[in-house]
């Protein structure tokens, strides 16, 4: 089967700095892929290139064989900070993607309502972002990305601003939502356990330049409950990935403090 998304010899330079070099990845339909790596390995840049928010310096991104260069409703982006418009209600924030595309008919409204129910925000449609907790705002962020019915969901550390307990809940919620539609997902995270818990494959990136060090297939059965995090298989995956990036992380920590 042809890959849903392929990154071919993708590279990105900022001035003299090689941020990404020779990225070659093929992602199948419905796969959940996590990108982990130390700070500065270019994982967010990679996601932004796929989103079309940033041009690649070389190589190409193919979605169903078509090259993508600009943002489009075939991809939905879930941001690290919720980026909700404070003057819009939950519902009108969630429907903004279709609205920008000029589609706000009954079908889109129904779909947006269904998605808000799916992310657990039924009854909060007319609330304003300032009335919601951080976790609830991230649910709107997710519903907004899903509202354009994207073929690929691009998630940039969406739970990093949440406290540890809320993050765990959001991980299981994301799993439940993903099981419903099985979209192809590219998920950037710092948390190795989050990556292992969520994904089918974890792409471990190295830094300077950012490149794929290892492609770790996670063979844990689905659906996964939070208890899977305490199994020895799970811990072994986390341990293995940690050892792959440990030196890089140490180097980046030292650099940041220098």
């Amino acid at each position: 089967m042809a890959p849903k998304l392929s990154l071919n010899r993708l590279a990105k330079r900022f001035g003299d700095l090689d941020v990404l070099a020779d990225i070659n990845v093929a992602i199948g339909r419905g796969e959940f892929i996590a990108l982990v790596g130390p700070s500065g390995c270019g994982k967010t840049t990679l996601l932004r290139i796929v989103a079309g928010l940033e041009p690649a310096s070389a190589g190409e991104v193919l979605l169903d064989g078509r090259a993508v260069r600009r943002p489009g409703s075939d991809r939905g982006f879930v941001f690290q900070s919720d980026n909700l418009l404070p003057w819009r209600t939950v519902f009108s924030n969630a429907i903004i993607g279709p609205e920008l595309g000029g589609r706000t008919g009954p079908a889109e409204k129904r779909r947006t309502g269904d998605l808000l129910r799916l992310v657990g925000l039924e009854g909060f449609e007319n609330y304003f972002p300032r009335q919601l907790s951080g976790g609830m705002r991230q649910r709107v962020n997710l519903a907004r990305a899903l509202a354009v019915d994207p073929e690929i969901l691009l998630m940039d550390e969406p739970f990093s601003a949440l406290d540890a307990q809320t993050r765990e809940i959001m991980q299981t919620e994301l799993m439940r939502i993903w099981e419903e539609g099985r979209k192809t997902v590219l998920f950037v995270t710092h948390q190795i356990d989050e990556a292992v818990f969520l994904s089918d494959r974890v792409l471990v990136l190295a830094r300077r330049p950012g490149r794929v060090r290892e492609d770790v297939a996670v063979a844990l059965p689905r659906p996964r409950a939070l208890a899977v995090k305490r199994t020895s298989e799970f811990v072994a995956y986390v341990d293995r990935i940690w050892r792959l990036i440990e030196d890089d992380v140490r180097a980046s920590v030292i650099e940041e403090h220098a």
Binding site: A51, G52, P71, F79, N83, L85, W87, I96, L100, R130
Partner: protein, 283 residues
């Protein structure tokens, strides 16, 4: 919620101010009983101040040539109102203020838009705007009277000069401080520059524009009065200057009180408008 603002506008920076008041409210949240007590404290303070004023002017100064007591001022306002003189002065000043204020606000918003959307317009206009904003243009009032006569148009021009620049500067700053993160979010959904402007820049600039308009009220009132002092046939400034010439303190204060009330009422109106139009800036 940290909002990155590259440039802060003049006047009340609504977000920062809101954040500060939210922080202080969190530090000591008064109970309902305490809050009623606090509200009462304001009233008591006003009444005590008026009583003190009354006492000082009746007993200490005891000279109607230098200070009028609040009761005398109220009596003067009543007398002027009954004779119809006050209504005429108010009507003239209000017309001058309203004409100048509306023209300045519309023009200021248009100029602010132009400066925010075109680098060329900004480069050309910015030195004039910031230069004239810093200049006490009220000093030009005699010149305007020379040009336009002692009727209302010289005052309208003074008001325009005083109100235009804060509105322009705030509009421009508001449009320019649109959050990059939010622009990026809209772009990710394929928004056009036009959509970004109408769905994001404009609403996020609204609190700044309102702050500019609010700032314009006080400046506009000063403009009306001072321009009238330089030369006019009618208006509250005229009332004040002719009362001063006649050492009629109650009528002088009557003019001042009417102006103060007008300023307070209009500012309160804008505060209410902010609560209705931009409720998200409160917390």
């Amino acid at each position: 919620m940290a909002t990155v603002e590259t440039r802060s506008p003049i006047g009340a920076a609504p977000r920062a101010a809101a954040a500060a008041s939210a922080a202080s409210a969190a530090a000591a949240k008064p109970s309902p009983v305490q809050r009623r007590g606090l509200k009462l404290a304001g009233l008591v303070s006003i009444l005590a101040g008026l009583a003190l004023w009354e006492l000082i002017s009746r007993l200490l100064v005891a000279n109607a040539l230098f200070l009028a007591a609040p009761t005398q001022i109220v009596a003067a306002i009543y007398k002027l109102a009954v004779s119809g003189e006050l209504g005429h002065h108010i009507a003239v000043s209000a017309a001058e203020f309203a004409l100048g204020y509306v023209v300045a606000c519309l023009l200021g918003i248009v100029l602010g838009f132009a400066m925010a959307s075109s680098e060329l317009a900004k480069k050309m206009l910015a030195p004039w705007i910031s230069g004239l904003y810093a200049t006490p243009t009220i000093a030009l009032a005699p010149l305007f009277i020379l040009w336009l006569g002692i009727g209302i148009w010289s005052k309208v021009l003074v008001v325009i000069f005083l109100v235009l620049f804060p509105v322009t500067i705030n509009t421009e700053a508001g449009l320019r401080t649109t959050s990059m993160r939010l622009i990026e979010m809209l772009r990710s959904f394929g928004a056009s520059p036009r959509q970004i402007f109408f769905k994001l820049s404009l609403p996020s600039a609204t609190p700044f524009i309102l702050a500019g308009l609010k700032l314009g009220i006080g400046r506009g009132l000063i403009g009306v009065v001072v321009a009238e002092l330089f030369g006019s046939r009618a208006g509250l400034g005229r009332l004040i200057s002719q009362s001063a010439d006649a050492f009629n303190m109650p009528e002088l204060f009557a003019g001042v009180v009417i102006l103060a009330v007008a300023g307070i009422v209009m500012t309160a109106g804008f505060t209410w408008l902010e609560r209705v139009l931009v409720p998200w800036t409160r917390d």
